[in-house]
Amino acid sequence: MPKRIVVPFGPQHPVLPEPIHLDLVLEDEKVVDVIPSIGYIHRGLEQLVQKREYPEYVYVAERICGICSFMHALCYCQGIEHIMEIEVPDRARYLRTIWSELSRLHSHLLWLGLFADSMGFENLFMRAWQLRESVLDISEDTSGGRIIQSTCKVGGVRRDIEQGKLEEIHRVMDTFEEKCRGLGNVFLNDETVKYRLQGLGVISKDEAYTLGSAGPTLRGSGVAIDHRETGYAAYGDLGFKPVVETAGDCYARCAVRVRELYSSIDLIRRAIEEMPEGGIDVKVKGAPNGEYFSRVEQPRGEVVHYLLGDGTKHLVRARIRTPTLANVPALVKMLPGAQLADVPVVVLSIDPCISCTER
């Protein structure tokens, strides 16, 4: 039997932007077992609901994670709105959709870059992040923030995007899409990338489903579950079809994200074209009394905010289940059998967002 060694991977590691620790049991360079340990970013922010009033908690929700920031705020606000039976103006729903899809674009481009870096493809990392800056420009132009936007609030949105700016975004999307397609082509067609990704970290359709995976990890295995199909915000009006790949390997997960770029661009365009007139928020009175499992499709998958209010300004409980936590079991199943060189690729293929996971 070959000699077994244990290689610690993380918490500080050049290919990991965030700390997660894996103890890899290796035979030569083959991974035979993996023990994850998390908790390096556990802050305990769910408890803050008892110290912040429910409208203020939106700021905390935004900072669960700096990448899917807007989506967390959206999920939280939609949950409170459902409990309090608040009807959000149409224009606010459309604006929320635009900001959501912008977040998805920037998140996917960020991920594509990090993913390329994990394969040792530095040029592609630079190109993906260069492209991402144009999304951040729009986000800064419309909200003032590059990353944390603070535009969502209970009862609507905080800022409007004026017509001229909407038209400009629509125009920008054309050149942006062209560049995205160029970048996507490299990811999907480059021989060395294919060599690194195809057949790696395979999760079958049934396995992905019963393990409770979410987002591109699930859709990459051929399961068409995307929470946008339920039609929250303006997705119901715009119509939406999930992006699905069937191979279940790292390449399929990458392909799902690449194709989601195009579907997001399309959604933004249509949201701008069909943007209704009107107010952007309603006045919110009282306090939530009741409970709701609010769900939103983040770039990484479905996020669940369980909110429980007792009629006071402070919620009793906010329980946040983020997609990465749901994808950890799949990751533990994917790694054994991979080469050490593939570990960063497989780990990144679920798009781990540790800040989300550990709250």
Binding site: S37, I38, G39, H42, G44, Q47, E87, V88, D90, R93, Y209, T210, L211, G212, S213, H227, E229, T230, G231, Y232, A233, G236, Y292, F293, R295, E302, V304, Y306, L308, V316, R317, R319, R321, L325, A326, V328, P329, A330, V332, E358
Partner: protein, 127 residues
């Protein structure tokens, strides 16, 4: 007008029936969404959430502190992340987890920060 195509149902479940109920749900083809816990003063409400085709089913188990809860990892393999969390944050003893971190999944400054009875305690329950 927002139209969200999603139903949510919540049913209570007794501790003795938990495993049987979850097996039934598994047989119906639901996937596990999450397991979450709420500290409601003198007891814990544990929500086992499942989903199939955007039908959201929630089993609610109410347990007193210090009561052992059986693991559902025999049915849903991936449940270990949530069950370790139940133990590490709430101090609920969960028995028979497939990958039991024994209190090291979330290492917090204060042990069992959300627990009713063992807040600040340091003895691991899952030994």
């Amino acid at each position: 007008m927002t139209t969200v195509k999603e139903e949510q149902t919540t049913t209570s479940v007794a501790l003795g029936d938990l495993i049987r109920e979850v097996e039934g749900i598994h047989a119906d083809g639901y996937r596990l969404v999450q397991i979450g816990c709420t500290n409601i003063g003198e007891a814990y409400e544990i929500n086992y959430s499942f989903d199939k085709g955007y039908r959201f089913r929630n089993l609610r188990l109410t347990v007193e502190p210090e009561i052992e809860v059986p693991s559902i990892t025999g049915i849903y393999w991936g449940a270990f992340v949530y069950e370790n969390e139940l133990h590490d944050l709430f101090g609920i003893p969960v028995t028979g987890i497939n990958i039991d971190f024994k209190g090291t999944f979330f290492k917090t400054a204060e042990k069992f920060p959300l627990s009713i009875t063992r807040k600040g305690g340091d003895r691991c329950q899952n030994v």
